[in-house]
Symmetry: C2
Subunit: 381 residues, 2 copies
């Protein structure tokens, strides 16, 4: 294998595929990046066996030469060293050549690195995916979908299925749900589907976080292919494979209350800032990070956000609401869960619907039924 | 105590004095910030007993009111909470009022924090400094002096005196020296002195690092007052006290070689980048982070920088020098020490003077005798 390549294109692809590589893998070759040069260009692959990322660099693009291939072939190079060194190369052009015994020379200007590589033939094969079950979604909407749900997955391995996001596809509609059993995030979106098949899969939260980092914020369509145990995201010159979580995702629809006893409408930013301030002194008793919300009888339209840390002090904040309807209310909840939920909402104003102090409550942007955040309260009043 | 103050001025002062505060102090009251309101304005103090910082906020400046004092007095508030909460206050004006039992109300807009404070009378007194031994230096030069020497202090407590920077003042000249016994950094500067007294003090490296962070990059003069065991830096509205290290600083002048066997002149940036690349694979045997430099007989004007990590690979870089004079040379040294030294030099070009492979070598910017960096080589050739 021998080729020359534009350094900046190589850096970009190396950084993309590195996102799949873990130093803690038990399969030594997976600490490396696989590099394949063929007639069409260069393909880089990184994998931790849960996630695999393949990045293709074409020989030319828009009439500009990116890669000059002198000899096809392949090699696997230690990701840790290769990633650092390509960033530090002195010139715009890099030459990579495999010598005897997988020794690989990386040349740029007057710098010459020699890395001991591994046989590309030994690298595990990526999953073979039959592309008959495909749907499409714009990249920017996919990124929003991920950002608005993935934070709510469970970080505990006690119920592994909850560490993933449930994707339910039906009637050209994608419904994403994440819950750690204390809160729930849900977002729906229209998709373009090639057939009417229904799917119900659970994608690991970690995979979605990495996918979100790697995708650019464009309106280009991403193709999504689903198999029994894998999902493949296809963007321009990029393939992102993730295994799926096995097991049945719990039915969360019955968790979402349909009746309302108190509804407040409030500006997201002001509400978030008040919660943020209250979180500073939210260490009451055993309840780390719990803040209280109360409607104020005396002053209509105001709610009070408060918290208390014995020995240190307390904070009381008042927030002007657009409207408060229904029963008076005193409720306690996790400041962190509330801030996570508010940051995921994009509306200027939100509606929060309560069904009493001991029941889960629902937060939505007003005039947008595609996003829902649900939080279980904490017993303190 | 009761006053109103512009939030942004309060935040700035709180952040400045916080730099002296350690959560690991054994004196509980020192985890707090002392706030004193008197007729002239507000004085904040933070201290870890080694470093003390006092920041003054005047009642008015340039005809604009900054503080309105309703009642003089004092309080000590937990730095951890107070620092976070002032940054999150909703409005531009903050009101601070001490109630019964040192309970302190911090009000801004519709937010009201209540913190349990401590008696300001219990706060340790700052060192009393007689201001007869004063000299002055522009702030930006002081910051350079610090930055160019302090990185070379020892981080090991085996010889505590080497954890500080030696300041030697004589004949209106300040000479700063830091060494960890493997490398040495030295910088001299002209100062304005009020008398002809000579000083020889050792200031803890940690103190100088904090001072550098807190000072703005202006040409305003900083007044420096030295006593037997303290040094005080006086900038506008800011007092920075540091204790001095006790003991005799070693005589380093005899370490600096005066003879030269090989001298190279090279562009700082290119040389630094080559060392940086070589450092990636600098794990040879026991010698972590060691790179080699060799003059090349075959190609005049070129030096070779190389390193090697068995099992992984090696790197060879060539750097074009402006000139190479004297004996041919092969030498090994710490890549980290070399990069630290090069980053502290400001010249476009440097001269490196070697006295053989086993002797310390000296790096200076060409045409600037005020800065010197010295590094001891490592035995590998």
């Amino acid at each position: 294998m021998k080729f020359s390549i534009l350094r900046d294109r190589l850096i970009q692809s190396v950084q993309d595929v590195s996102k799949a590589i873990s130093t803690r893998t038990t399969i030594p070759i997976l600490t490396g990046i696989k590099i394949i040069a063929d007639e069409d260009g260069i393909t880089l692959t990184g994998s931790d066996s849960d996630i695999s990322i393949e990045s293709f660099i074409p020989k030319e693009e828009d009439g500009n030469e990116i890669v000059a291939i002198q000899q096809t072939g392949g090699i696997v190079l230690q990701a840790k060293f290769f990633t650092e060194l390509v960033k530090k190369l002195p010139m715009d052009i890099v030459e990579i050549e495999v010598m005897n015994q997988f020794q690989t020379i990386i040349r740029s200007g007057k710098s010459e690195f020699s890395l001991i590589g591994l046989d590309a033939e030994e690298y595990p094969h990526l999953p073979q995916i039959v592309e008959d079950k495909v749907f499409k979604i714009p990249t920017d909407i996919l990124k929003h979908l991920i950002r608005q749900t993935v934070f709510a997955v469970s970080s505990a391995e006690t119920r592994p299925i909850l560490t993933g996001v449930n994707w339910n596809i039906k009637d050209n509609q994608l419904n994403c749900t994440a819950t750690d059993s204390h809160r729930l995030a849900q977002r729906t979106a229209e998709i373009e589907s090639t057939n009417g098949t229904e799917y119900n899969i659970v994608i690991p939260g970690k995979s979605l976080n990495e996918l979100n980092k790697i995708l650019d914020d464009t309106s280009d369509l991403v193709e999504i292919v689903i198999t029994d145990n894998q999902v493949l995201f296809k963007a321009k010159h990029l393939l992102f494979f993730s295994r799926l979580l096995e097991g049945n995702y719990p039915d969360t629809s019955r968790l979402i209350p349909t009746d309302v006893k108190t509804e407040i409408v409030v500006k997201t930013k002001e509400f978030l800032q008040a919660i943020d301030r209250a979180s500073l002194l939210a260490r009451e008793g055993q309840n780390a990070n719990v803040v209280k919300l109360a409607t104020l009888d005396s002053t209509p339209g105001l709610i009070e956000i408060s918290s208390n840390t014995p020995e240190v002090g307390k904070v009381v904040d008042q927030v002007q609401c657009q409207s408060i309807e229904g029963e008076e209310l005193k409720i306690s909840f996790s400041a962190k869960y509330m801030m996570d939920a508010l940051k995921a909402l994009e509306g200027m104003e939100i509606s929060i619907r309560f069904t009493g102090a001991m029941r889960p409550f629902v937060i939505r942007p007003i005039n947008d039924e595609t996003i829902l955040q649900l939080i279980l309260p904490v017993r303190t009043y």
